[in-house]
Structures are given as structure tokens and as C-alpha cells.
């Protein structure tokens, strides 16, 4: 006599270490295999888009820090670019270079967390995480030197950056850039060919290129599927066209490739920082901008390649000192569109690996 079975629904999260914040998945299982998955959001919704409508353009900058808190510099960057585009403000060249240096360091720091947390989820309990934190700590020290903060930097300003770098910054940065390739080698040596890592990630959660494009995936998730699309190259902003770097792309679009692309991007970011440091011009770091900036009537969309993908800000101005509409194109949220399709057919442990490889920050997902 056949056993009578029925699908079981399990609530995964919102309080769970592997969801990287307060994120819930309603997972339906047939035995051990996932047959359906629905992400549930909103546990960290603070209404930042609405809040920003009551703040002046400058006052919004600290709010952008609190979107993707693992890449605050990138959020600052995208937002100030949007306001500058809207108001037609020129930025001194030194400030542009400093912004690129900070954004690329931020990318390294963010990818370090993404990779460390990913291996944590896979069961390599805190060893890779601690290796990654060793280097992230150095980047945070560098950020602390320039703006006194270690998480929410609020470093960029409309028309430049808040302070010029202190004397001790460049030697420390040079030391870091010289060391970093060696550390990345070390990660590769530890992880890239580890048998357990390969068994857990190779061929798991394959995202084909056409599907990645159709689902508006961006960042490492899109590039791991073999799509050579990086806004730094495709639609260069700031001074990114002054530097030489490659866009690493994956072949399979599986969980391993998403990890691999992040490691390669760290190498490329190191290259960019090195070039930016050598070419760093002297001069002002901030243009004079009225304290109560009133951009002309109009609207603007500015996007950058943040560590998680296409981060865009859409601003509408009605010539008042406050944005009429402030909208964030949040890469973490949109990358989750593919989560269900990737997880169906795999087991729960694989779903955790897949979610870890997408690399979400809930503060940005929920806004």
C-alpha cells in the first residue's frame, strides 16, 4: 500500500541567521524537495522614500547610508550623482577620484562580507568569515581615517566629499593595496578548490543568462550567468572611464560562479584603487553649493554599479528645497525575483546556499 503524503509548508525566518536579517521564506516541501517558495518582505520597512520627501537634498544623504549598510559609500555615491545631474553641479576632479577610491574599497569590503557569510551558511562555521573580516577591518580603518565612521559614512556631499583625506591615508592605502592580492590568493587557496565547497555549490541553483536578464537581475548575480554587463563600463559615470579593468563573468550561472565572480571583482577593484591612487590629482574636494539647494524643475535617474548590482535613484524636483519624489531602485530586492525559480527542485540546505550567493541586505530590500 503506497504511503499517503502531502506537501508541508515551513516558515523559514524571519529570525534566522542564514537569512542575513529579517527575511522570511514560506517554503513548501514535498518530502525534502522544495516545490514552492515565496519570499516575504517588509520586516525592516522604514518608509525611507516617504521620509526623504520631508528632508532637504543634503539631509537625505545620511538616510542613503541606511539603505545598504554594507555599502554605504556606494549609496552616498549614487544619490549625490543623481542630485548633481539634476542640479547641473560640477564636481572637482580630486573629489571624483576620491569617490571612486571609496566606492571600490567599499565593493571589496562588501564582497568580503558576502563571501564570508556565504561560507558561514554553507557550514564553514566562522573560519572564512574571520579571514574576510581581517581585511575588512583594514578597509574600515581607512574609512574611519577619512570620515570618522565605520559603518554609516555620510562621506559624500552634493558637489564633492566632506573632507580631504588626511596625510596618513595614502601610505595606509598603499600598504593595503600591496597586501590585498596576496590575501585574495589565500582565499582561493582555502576555498576555490575545496571539495566540500565544490560539492555544495557547483551546478546548484543555475540561472541561465536569458532568465537573469528577463528578471532584471544585476551585479554579480547577472554577471555569473555570463552576461557582460557592468554599469561602470556600459554607462561610465564619474571618472570610471579613466581606468583599466576587466569585467569577470561566470560560465554556468550557478552558486559557485556567483561566489567566483565576487572574488574576481575584488581583484579588479584593487586594480582600480591602485590606478586611482596613482593618478589622484590635487586641488579642491568640494564645490560651493547653496545650503538650501533648489534644483530646477525636472527629474533624473542616476545609476551606479553598487556591490549588489544596479543601484539607481530617481528624483523628481519641483524647484523646492525638498525632493518631490525620491525612489530607490534597490538591487537586492530585484535580484530576489529569481529566488523561487532557483530554489525549486533543490533541498533546504541548497536554498540557503542559493540565498547566500544572491547576497541581500534587508535594509535595502525593505527600505
Amino acid at each position: 500500500m503506497p504511503l499517503k503524503t502531502e506537501p508541508v509548508m515551513i516558515n523559514f525566518g524571519p529570525q534566522h541567521p542564514s537569512t542575513h536579517g529579517v527575511f522570511r521564506m514560506r517554503v513548501t516541501f514535498d518530502g525534502e524537495v522544495i516545490v514552492d517558495l515565496e519570499p516575504v518582505f517588509g520586516y525592516l520597512h522604514r518608509g525611507i522614500e516617504k521620509l526623504a520627501e520631508a528632508k532637504t537634498y543634503t539631509q537625505v544623504i545620511p538616510y542613503t547610508d541606511r539603505l545598504d549598510y554594507l555599502a554605504s559609500m556606494s549609496n552616498n555615491f549614487a544619490y549625490v550623482l543623481a542630485v548633481e545631474k539634476l542640479a547641473g553641479i560640477e564636481v572637482p576632479e580630486r573629489a571624483q577620484y576620491l569617490r571612486v577610491i571609496m566606492a571600490e574599497l567599499m565593493r571589496i569590503a562588501s564582497h568580503l562580507i558576502a563571501t564570508g557569510a556565504f561560507f558561514n551558511d554553507l557550514g564553514a562555521f566562522f573560519t572564512p568569515f574571520m579571514y574576510m573580516f581581517r581585511e575588512r577591518e583594514k578597509i574600515l580603518d581607512l574609512f574611519e581615517m577619512v570620515c570618522g565612521q565605520r559603518l554609516t559614512y555620510n562621506y559624500m556631499r552634493i558637489g564633492g566629499v566632506s573632507h580631504d583625506i588626511p596625510e596618513e591615508f595614502l601610505p595606509a592605502l598603499r600598504r593595503f593595496i600591496d597586501e590585498m592580492p596576496g590575501f585574495i590568493e589565500e582565499y582561493d587557496w582555502l576555498l576555490a578548490e575545496n571539495e566540500i565547497v565544490l560539492a555544495r555549490t557547483k551546478g546548484v541553483g543555475v540561472l541561465p543568462a536569458h532568465k537573469a536578464i528577463n528578471a532584471s537581475a544585476s551585479g554579480p548575480v547577472l554577471r555569473a550567468s555570463g552576461v557582460k554587463w557592468d554599469i561602470r563600463k556600459a554607462d561610465p559615470y564619474s571618472v570610471y572611464d579613466h581606468f583599466e579593468f576587466e569585467i569577470p563573468v561566470g560560465m554556468m550561472g550557478d552558486t559557485y560562479d556567483r561566489y567566483w565572480v565576487r572574488i574576481q571583482e575584488m581583484r579588479q577593484s584593487t586594480r582600480i584603487v591602485k590606478q586611482a591612487m596613482e593618478q589622484l590629482p590635487s586641488g579642491e574636494v568640494r564645490t560651493k553649493v547653496p545650503a538650501l539647494l533648489r534644483p530646477p524643475k525636472g527629474e533624473v535617474y542616476a545609476h551606479i554599479e553598487s556591490p549588489r548590482g544596479e543601484l539607481g535613484f530617481y528624483l523628481v524636483s519641483d524647484n523646492s528645497p525638498r525632493p518631490y519624489r525620491f525612489k530607490v531602485r534597490a538591487p537586492s530586492l530585484i535580484n530576489l525575483t529569481v529566488l523561487r525559480d532557483l530554489c525549486v527542485g533543490w533541498k533546504l540546505a541548497d536554498a540557503i546556499a542559493i540565498l547566500g550567493s544572491i547576497d541581500i541586505v534587508l535594509a535595502e530590500v525593505d527600505r
Partner: protein
């Protein structure tokens, strides 16, 4: 650089294929009638290779809403901004069958701005809870009104 296609040229091409769908264009965007939005979007995807829906935004202008679609072609590296206007309470066709990436973005707009999309398979609130009253990103929304 991503090349923005001339809205005038795009509007002309759409008009040739779908009469009465385009109402207007300006220096950055093409405006489509909301009822014809799906046909226009499909035309843009198929004929101008706009395979990537970068973002959807909704703006409340009191007398009407404006929906802004940022479309990009990854293969050809060009972009088009498609806009449409709708009245309060009017339903707009969903583009989820063209671009899966519209899924959470349309739910986001439905939740916070209160624009319903016809053809979305799972249109429900995304951030706020089901019993929440009103749509906070609307300009006429107030905390007190929501507590009634």
C-alpha cells in the same frame, strides 16, 4: 555609454505599428496611453531589443499618477524611457509577462502608491501588512487618515 534613443524617433516607430498608442514625447521620454501600455512595451521589447527592465517608478502628481519605465538593451546598449499617465483608481496593464523583473516592482507600487496592475499573478502588499489602510507614498496620505 548607454545611448538614449531619440524619443521622437521611437514615437514615430511605435505610431507606425500601433496607431493611437503614443500620446506625446518630450526630450527624454515617450508617453503612451495607459490602455495601450502593454502593446507598446511588447513592441519596444521585440523591435528595439529592450530586453532589460531597469526600473519602474510611480509618481503622484495629485491629478494623476505617472509611471516611468526605464528600459535598457543589454545587447545594443541603448535605452528608452517610457511613461504613462493614469487616473486615481485606474488599472494599468502589467508587463510581468514581458519582463519577470517587474514582479516585485509592481507589487511595490501597488503597496505604496495604490496603482493596481491587471495581469499580475500575485498582486498583494509587499512591505506593509494586509490590514494596512491607504498607500503611504501618495501625496494626500496622512498618518491620521490611515488610523481611521
Amino acid at each position: 555609454m548607454t545611448k538614449p534613443l531619440s524619443p521622437q524617433e521611437v514615437a514615430r516607430q511605435i505610431r507606425e505599428h500601433i496607431p493611437d498608442a503614443v500620446t506625446d514625447f518630450d526630450e527624454s521620454a515617450v508617453f503612451a496611453r495607459s490602455e495601450a501600455l502593454f502593446q507598446v512595451a511588447r513592441f519596444l521589447k521585440q523591435n528595439l531589443d529592450l530586453d532589460y527592465l531597469a526600473s519602474i517608478t510611480a509618481v503622484d502628481f495629485f491629478e494623476h499618477f505617472e509611471l516611468i519605465y526605464h528600459l535598457t538593451s543589454i545587447t545594443k546598449n541603448h535605452s528608452v524611457i517610457l511613461k504613462t499617465r493614469c487616473e486615481k483608481g485606474e488599472k494599468v496593464p502589467s508587463v510581468i509577462s514581458l519582463w519577470q523583473g517587474a514582479d516585485f516592482q509592481e507589487r511595490d507600487i501597488f503597496d505604496l502608491m495604490g496603482i493596481a496592475f491587471v495581469g499580475h499573478p500575485n498582486l498583494k502588499r509587499i512591505f506593509l501588512w494586509d490590514g494596512f489602510k491607504g498607500h503611504p507614498l501618495r501625496k494626500d496620505w496622512s498618518k491620521n487618515a490611515a488610523q481611521d
